[in-house]
Symmetry: C2
Subunit: 339 residues, 2 copies
């Protein structure tokens, strides 16, 4: 392993000079700098990151804390983050939930963090965040000069969705809620209920927890009611998926029997049968924005710019009553309807 000492020797200068030359700091003559760089090149020198970080107390690394890899949810966000990182001189440390999460955070093994892991508490975030350690949170509403929450504009998409349902003449609606402690769920629900209220509609709420199975269960519950709703809004796509599965099992077709709308636009949504109407935001953009703001604060002291990521309603088959069938599949002559 070649060290900076080897480089210095080869270039015939002191270690200090070599370091200055390599980092373009200090004041070093052009000829000398060149000699050092050449020596480094010839010896294939790469500075030892541990030594460097130890001394500098800066790692030039952004940490992303997620709870797990699966769920294509993260995938796109990570992709967005990565794409921005590639254009900077920062590196990326993706840290799934683990024993060492705390240590990495505590020891500033990263210069800034993007948190998307509910296992990390609000208190921890609050305690850690500072000018020298800014944090972007993607999953909670926590804010100060050094904590930037990047939230979805839930209301916008939900309003569009409600209008879409309402304009088709649907009046009996139900809401399948996600985890109670989730801000996103709260906002989606509030908006939906508020819109309904303005139209003088009563909307029963069925409690789920964002999992497919909870959507399935909610559906089973709803099937027991005297009169089926005409439209059901699920607080996320996974639950909508479960709901649709329950409907299929019972021989009910969306949107004919019940119009279904989800939230998130997971990749599967467009491929379901029927394709799922949902509300989407660009997760890629989400990740990219997060890391851009972080690095801007770190490098240029640009203050955080709170913003909501815009969402938009995507009308697909599951909630669109009299559209042409987009593929030749399904339709009203569906044998399942008579089962």
């Amino acid at each position: 392993m070649t060290t900076i000492r080897d480089v210095a020797k080869r270039a015939g200068v002191s270690v200090t000079t070599a370091s200055y030359a390599l980092n373009d700091t200090g004041s070093i003559g052009e000829a000398t700098r060149k000699r050092v760089l050449e020596a480094a090149e010839e010896l294939n020198f790469h500075p030892n990151a541990f030594a460097r970080n130890l001394k500098r107390r800066k790692t030039q690394t952004i940490g992303v804390f997620i709870s797990r890899f699966s769920g294509s949810f993260y995938e796109e966000i990570l992709e967005g983050i990565h794409s921005v990182i590639l254009e900077t001189d920062y590196e990326l440390l993706v840290c799934p939930e683990s024993r060492s999460t705390r240590r990495i955070l505590l020891h500033r093994q990263v210069d800034g963090a993007i948190v998307f892991d509910r296992k990390i508490t609000n208190e921890q975030v609050l305690k850690l965040a500072s000018r020298r350690f800014p944090i972007v949170v993607l999953d909670r509403d926590l804010q100060n000069d050094f904590i930037l929450p990047l939230l979805l504009d839930n209301a916008q998409g939900v309003r569009e969705a409600f209008r879409h349902l309402y304009d088709q003449g649907l009046r009996r609606m139900a809401f399948v809620a996600g985890a109670l402690d989730a801000l996103d769920n709260a906002e989606r629900m509030e908006t939906f209920l508020a819109e309904a209220k303005r139209k003088r509609l009563q909307v029963p709420v069925y409690q789920g927890n964002f999992t497919e199975v909870s959507g399935y269960d909610a559906a089973r519950l709803i099937f027991q009611s005297a009169q089926l709703p005409q439209a059901v809004f699920c607080a996320n796509d996974q639950m909508a998926f479960g709901f649709l599965r329950a409907m299929t099992e019972r021989g009910l077709r969306a949107p004919a029997a019940i119009a279904i709308v989800g939230f998130d636009d997971i990749p599967l949504a467009r491929h379901m049968q029927p394709s799922l109407s949902t509300i989407g935001a660009s997760r890629f953009e989400w990740g990219a924005t997060a890391v851009r703001q972080l690095i801007d604060l770190l490098d240029n002291e640009t203050p955080f710019q709170p913003l909501r990521l815009s969402t938009r309603f995507l009308a697909r088959q599951s909630s669109t009553l009299n559209a042409e069938p987009q593929t030749a599949l399904g339709g009203t002559h569906d044998p399942a309807l008579s089962s």
Copy 2:
């Protein structure tokens, strides 16, 4: 930031003793050890990883080198790796392709590597791998005492698939190939052609590159032939997806017009319309096996155990001729057929 010096002072011992006590090395009295651990606890001490790694020349970290995050392909592998890592005292560094890939590898910023990134050349892998730096490769056939290729048993699944097609009486078959330099593609193709040859079938090959669009293009090319094949085997699901899209556009239904089989069992496969017959392996298991072997070699000198991950054919709608429609969707009265 509290250091080991603070801990030593508080426990009334030397730094050396503190270090030994914390690491359970050296010989330290029980009472002393306890005092040190208590002091560490009280001060909320976490050793600085940079200093430790610098000195130890060991990082207790496994690096996973992937080219990008998207493509649900990685997702499950990472999940498998992560699940094993959680049970060990190793950490995980996921490194998407970037400027620093080389440095991380060169400087042993990780103790072992799982390589799934074609940007890293065979030469690099060969040069790096050693007893103290074992490497598992997931995407190439490269092997020595310290390089373990974890490959799919391509032949097994492909044979099953061929038999499935053949047993349904299909004889005119075609093969859509993936990237030429990919071992997986080569094996899938060889096996398929070999099976065909045993049955005295001629199978034309259409060159693709594993992308959806190349599958689409291959389909367009095939549509120009005098007589359509009855079955098409695509070397991966993405191409199969493209192929199906082209068929839909042309008003052709699988399997009625052409039976389609893919390879990989991407999550979407089961959700396509028609659902895609394909060949799958547990990617979760793939990742888990990789990291298990790596850590076993690192910690216990257990030699690498070359093995092939078993694959199995999954018969779904796209290639199953006279099955009951699994859902009520589609079927032979499909208006698209007449367009």
